[in-house]
């Protein structure tokens, strides 16, 4: 019999956690999972649109122009944000050594629930208004009307204050790096949303400068630091060993701020935006290799020699994929910023492939790893291992098909642009790749349904039931 390092048994780990806290975290994750399933359905519908729109109903509410922002906004602000925030609350409380039997006060619980409500209302209102044809068009990732984004922004500020209070109450002198990433990203996203909606420069090139800033900061100063911050806690915890190099993490943190903030204009290369701004964005996009590989390398070195633990864990394989995905997606992004590459690949579906690589293989896989690894430590219930396995392989094979199809297709499409063939050639050439994209998207959607069931099985109420079935209990 091989001895497997498993750390603390799940029941023991969960025993000291306030049930209200476990429920709170689980509700954030469950809300996120509902949005994930919904947005996947929309994504699948859109994927089919590229194959043959004539087979779909011609209804204004379900038109491509409206559903695309429904898909992106629900995925970004519904799924990824809520899941990361739910996990972040637990990670901050744990890494700050706050007593887990009472991490939050009564009023704080009230505010945490209020934030979730505001957030869900914002997303739901956003979906309805977008479908009704009230789109903040031409402004990617902020297509919501301001009154749909406002509740979400208030939610973020509440979460930021709660995170700060948890950190202030910590049981050790040091502030762990996970808390740095999480607290800072709450501040950054608040500034980003304010800039996106309240900037006084609404016309001409000035508007596009703010747009480039917004697009890339919303991704890089919110999702990335939250996912990385959570991994800095969850990965060493699940492997039951310290992080490989704390100093490397510090380097990654500060270079991330300086480099990531200034690269937004790489979405607008070869446009009338001042050339110096474009050049700065390209240079620092390449420099992103430093913060990305400081963290990726750190995580890989932490996982080194732990093959046995990874093989016997149902959560660690998600981290392996997520960490490698982070490194590769970012290298891909650095390469895409180069003018020579933009010339061919900008405007093509290669960009869509890259976006899914980053938000799915990197962010979503790390979220799933953290959920499967950490939620049982709050609720005391483990997910059905079989379902987790099905989820893992469906999601991985689905996204692999999806990303390969779109990146390959993007090359074909981009070369059709450059070769000066009639435009329709670029559309015709993409059809087989869109079919594969639909296949990949279907697998991913099924994976999300499986994930939803697994998450439901881990709910706090299930603890007593599972415990009652223990022999001798």
């Amino acid at each position: 019999m091989v001895k497997i390092p498993v750390g603390i048994p799940i029941f023991v780990a969960a025993a000291g956690v306030d049930n209200k806290f476990a429920t709170l975290v689980h509700r954030y994750l469950l809300s996120a999972a509902v949005w994930l399933v919904l947005a996947s359905g929309v994504g699948l519908f859109l994927a089919f649109h590229h194959v043959d729109p004539s087979l779909l109903p011609d209804i204004a509410e379900l038109s491509y122009g409206r559903l695309r922002p429904v898909h992106t906004m629900t995925m970004l602000f519904g799924w990824a944000s809520l899941a990361l925030v739910g996990l972040a609350l637990y990670v901050v409380a744990k890494s700050a050594w706050v007593p887990m039997h009472k991490p939050l006060g009564k009023v704080e619980y009230g505010f945490a629930r209020l934030a979730l409500w505001l957030w869900n209302i914002g997303i739901a209102a956003g979906i309805v208004t977008l479908c009704m044809g009230m789109v903040n068009g031409g402004r990617e990732y902020r297509e919501y009307q301001w009154y749909c984004m406002a509740p979400i922004a208030v939610g973020v500020i509440i979460i930021g204050i709660l995170v700060y209070r948890l950190m202030a109450r910590r049981g050790v002198q040091g502030v762990y790096i996970s808390c740095w990433f999480i607290l800072a990203s709450c501040f950054w996203i608040a500034i980003i949303v304010v800039m996106g909606y309240l900037s006084p420069w609404k016309t001409g090139i000035a508007d596009r400068i703010i747009d480039g800033y917004y697009i890339h900061n919303a991704v890089g100063m919110w999702f990335t630091p939250l996912a990385v911050g959570i991994t800095y806690y969850a990965l060493p915890k699940l492997l039951n060993k310290p992080i490989y190099s704390y100093a490397l993490g510090v380097l990654g943190f500060f270079t991330h701020i300086v480099f990531y903030t200034v690269i937004g204009t790489h979405h607008y290369i070869f446009t009338p935006i001042p050339v110096w701004l474009q050049t700065v964005s390209v240079i620092f996009s390449v420099a992103m290799i430093v913060p990305v590989w400081a963290s990726t390398g750190n995580f890989l070195m932490t996982m080194k020699g732990e093959r046995l633990a990874i093989r016997h864990s149902y959560s660690l394989p998600f981290f392996v994929v997520g960490v490698i995905g982070y490194g590769l997606a970012s290298i891909q992004g650095s390469a895409e910023s180069l003018r020579e590459v933009q010339e061919v690949l900008h405007f093509t579906h290669y960009t869509v492939g890259h976006a899914h690589f980053a938000m799915y293989v990197f962010v979503s896989f790390l979220i799933w790893g953290a959920i499967y690894g950490l939620v049982p430590r709050t609720t005391g219930v483990e997910p059905p291992v079989m379902l987790v396995g099905v989820h893992f392989w469906l999601a991985l094979s689905g996204v692999a098909i999806y990303v390969v199809a779109l990146c390959w297709g993007g090359h074909v499409q981009g070369n059709a642009f450059v070769d000066g063939e009639p435009f329709m050639e670029s559309v015709r050439a993409m059809t087989p790749f869109h079919v594969w994209r639909f296949v990949g998207a279907s697998l991913m959607t099924v994976a999300h349904l499986v994930f939803f069931v697994s998450l439901w099985r881990m709910r706090p109420g299930a603890f007593s039931k599972a415990f009652a079935q223990q022999p001798g209990a």
Binding site: G137, G138, A168, L183, W201, G204, V427
Partner: protein
């Protein structure tokens, strides 16, 4: 005890926040301010109310920008040293007969739709490339009727079998029936919305670029 980011949660907030604010000022706010100052010196292009409504529908109601760009990229690496002109990027040549788009052409436009996806063709100069009003009606009613392999969705709800009421300058227009439309009614009318959108598309004929050439 010295206060640093490793031991003080206050510093964990203040340090990343202040670095970020400085960077945002340098990379977004100051460039936007100077671009905005330059914009104020540029003249406001004349836009008919009908085309303006069409743009509103294009951008805020049907969000066409997710598939169509409006920018002809200029290859700054091959700038002409003598007159400072910039050639059109090879990939955009089929759309760029009047040269790369300039800041002037986007001036005073709310959220200029440069776009990030070219799933459909660029529309910066669509008014020059396809000046036929009827073609645009056919294309909106059923894109595949005039562009067989198109993956654009149809907008039959912008059309009506009976003559709709006019809205301001938007007077409904009768659509000539062609075979590919697959329409079996007696007459087909473009609603005021369709008229406005097509008016906007036809207005995209790069007047400033043609004037400067």
């Amino acid at each position: 005890m010295p206060s640093n980011i490793h031991t003080s949660h206050r510093m964990v907030f203040l340090l990343p926040a202040s670095i970020y604010i400085v960077l945002v000022v340098v990379i977004a706010i100051l460039p936007a301010m100077s671009a905005s100052t330059e914009e104020k010196a540029l003249e406001v292009p004349p836009v008919t109310p009908l085309a303006a409504w069409g743009r509103e529908l294009y951008r805020e109601k049907y969000n066409c920008v997710v598939c169509h760009t409006q920018q002809i990229r200029g290859d700054v690496r091959r700038r002409n040293e003598v007159d400072g002109s910039v050639p059109v990027l090879a990939a955009d040549a089929r759309f760029g007969l009047e040269g790369p788009t300039t800041a002037e052409e986007y001036a005073h436009q709310e959220a200029p739709m440069l776009g990030t996806q070219r799933t459909g063709p660029d529309l910066m100069s669509i008014g020059i490339r396809m000046p036929s009003r009827q073609w645009h009606y056919w294309h909106l009613y059923k894109p595949q009727s005039v562009s067989p392999d198109s993956t654009m969705e149809a907008y039959p709800y912008l059309f009506s079998s009976e003559k709709p009421k006019a809205v301001g300058d938007a007077v409904p227009e009768k659509v000539e029936l062609i075979e590919g439309l697959g329409y079996d009614g007696d007459e087909l009318w473009a609603t005021p919305e369709a008229v406005a959108i097509v008016e906007y598309l036809l207005s995209l004929d790069r007047p400033l670029a043609r004037k400067n050439r």
